[in-house]
Subunit: 218 residues, 4 copies
């Protein structure tokens, strides 16, 4: 079994994520600014959790080269990514507080803690299978929607989307996929597929909650 | 700050859980059998995850007596609780498979992994604050709905509900609350409240998904 | 590869543990009382750490029956074992404090934290391979030295040693070995052997430090 | 309580590390080449474990700035540090294999797993208290022995030692101490001191085993 089997097994689901109106509208430049601001705040929390998750996976990586690759990604997230968020947050005069003080969506809390649970409790392979959708799906989104950027006159959305079409981003995702590829066996495929599928579905829930600006209330 | 502050801060939310139609109907003996069967299968998975979570908390407990109390609870779950489930599963001819092969609700996956993430990543106090709602709410449910059992002529629902009104169950919950009580400080209250609140909300989502027999699909 | 391969690969080392003068003297009833008291205090700390370790392994066990077996062992340790220690500590008027306040041997700190590191960081199979020597070696000690108990007139040492010759203890060890047996593959044998070997060597260091009543000082 | 209290409480012990003949001889340029080569191989394994440990601490850091500082250090270790080792290993034609295939010292296995156990099982503060000695002690060694470098005509030892006297290294250590400083309270001081003290003692054991080129055998 290979990574391409994870991709084909979950095609129906990940295509739903790729085609989500949130994604379509941001590429067309039509997404409501309030929705983008809502997304920024949610994703800032998610990124923070995701960095914790990456650190756990680094602690479990046995191969030195793989460890270095993941450390490079973590380093980019901690410096480049966060700086980019900081700029956008300041541009929109948004304030970010601690998780306990922010209003989060249901899917944001559910997804980010799911990743932490899998990486902490299961092994490296399963943690990687759960983590990868969050990177890989942005590549598929770029492939699918990129042509819409020509008519997009929202500079901020343009800049946001352009990153995921860069060769740097493509290489980052390919490196992660390569790391997972080495872990896939017939024996663990069902488990890896389970985590891959769940994360794909969480991606959908994440976009849906954000698109509806739906804070978790019961 | 004390446990009663967690209770009063989240009263609006936990009352919603207590009054959920699933709970009302099971106490009245009116819950659709298909829904109860759906619940059994979901809760079987949840209990399995919950035992893993309890084990993590045991590994972090510093006080010997507290550790022994949590081991006692884990032991009851692993033997008494699971045996009870086994009987019911057999009675209804239900088959339970591994997580990867079962169809789970969104809230079940989200809630059970949230607990694992908090216990693995945060400290003992936070893990206990996240764990307790799942035990404590069944006590509140019993207090609120118990009088309805008189007219309940479904023996299985009767038996299910009677457990939570027993003095043994009350003592179990009181022991857990006492363990958490010792951990509550002014300094960590906001965090403990955050996890307590999230778990209360997850309880609601759990009942809602089960009541609608809603498998996670996107 | 099987458990018996771990046993044969490490025979030279585990025989050294079995034949350690501490073990010989306790079976003959000749061990200095001060040494036994020193052992009790060291082992009390070790047992506490070992219970934390068992709890981590329980949280990682995937098979329900295996999980129940490990919970049973943890339950026995937390109740039967600790009660036995409590009696002996009272008999000798020994006081046990927290780890920070006790004077521990080098090997005690090293060994018990080694187990915690393997169980936390590596998977279930490796954690079991590291854990088992501590149970299994006491069985081998009983087989090798048991005949000496006839001339042992120290009732306390008699009682201590008799436990490890009981059918209950044998069954406990066999259950653990059976759990590990299912995890052994050609692919992971080198790693499992590494952890098994290290724990055997730690057992030797533990007895040596205790026999010399050698608190860790530099 | 402050970091300086940890320093003064453990002065007798850390001075023993600083004055260890291994350290004296490397600064004087008199250390046997075989011993340095032995040290390189042991430290290569230790650095690998130490990076895993740092990753666990990153996953537990709550403050974003602190997290970024620790990620910077991890990044330096994974790239600069390892490259430096690679050069030295090639220069001496030394081959490094996996932990299971290398012959390690007792203290190396004990120390590196102690760090992993504390970071995994205890909280961020305790993990930092256990980790810091390994960085901080090299600063104290540089202060104490630096004048000896003038007469040191071994270029490799010169280069090795010079790093720890650089302003970059001083800043790295000061940043780590500052992170720990914020975590020290009267309430947790005894625990933090326990871990700080143990790591200082492990540093001594590490140098002693290396100085004697003493592979762990029983």
């Amino acid at each position: 079994m290979q990574f391409k089997d994870l991709v084909s097994e979950n095609k129906k689901d990940w295509l739903k994520v790729v085609k989500h109106p949130f994604v379509d509208e941001i590429y067309r430049g039509k997404l409501a600014e309030e929705t983008f601001k809502f997304y920024l705040i949610q994703d800032h929390y998610y990124l923070n959790q995701s960095m914790r998750n990456m650190a756990i996976l680094i602690s479990k990586a046995e191969n030195l080269k793989q460890k270095q690759q993941l450390i490079d990604i973590l380093n980019i997230e901690a410096n480049v990514e966060f700086a980019k968020y900081q700029e956008l947050l300041e541009y929109y005069s948004l304030e970010v507080k601690s998780a306990e003080e922010m209003k989060m969506t249901y899917s944001n809390i559910a997804y980010s803690n799911y990743l932490l649970a899998v990486s902490s409790q299961a092994g490296f392979a399963e943690g990687m299978a759960a983590l990868i959708p969050c990177y890989w799906i942005y590549l598929k989104m770029a492939e699918y929607h990129h042509h819409k950027l020509k008519e997009n006159d929202n500079q901020i959305y343009q800049d946001w989307a352009t990153v995921f079409k860069s060769s740097d981003y493509k290489e980052l995702v390919e490196n992660m996929v390569e790391i997972l590829e080495k872990e896939i066996e017939t024996k663990n495929f069902k488990k890896l597929n389970y985590h891959f599928k769940n994360s794909i579905k969480f991606e959908y829930q994440f976009f849906s909650d954000v698109y509806q600006r739906k804070i978790w209330e019961i």
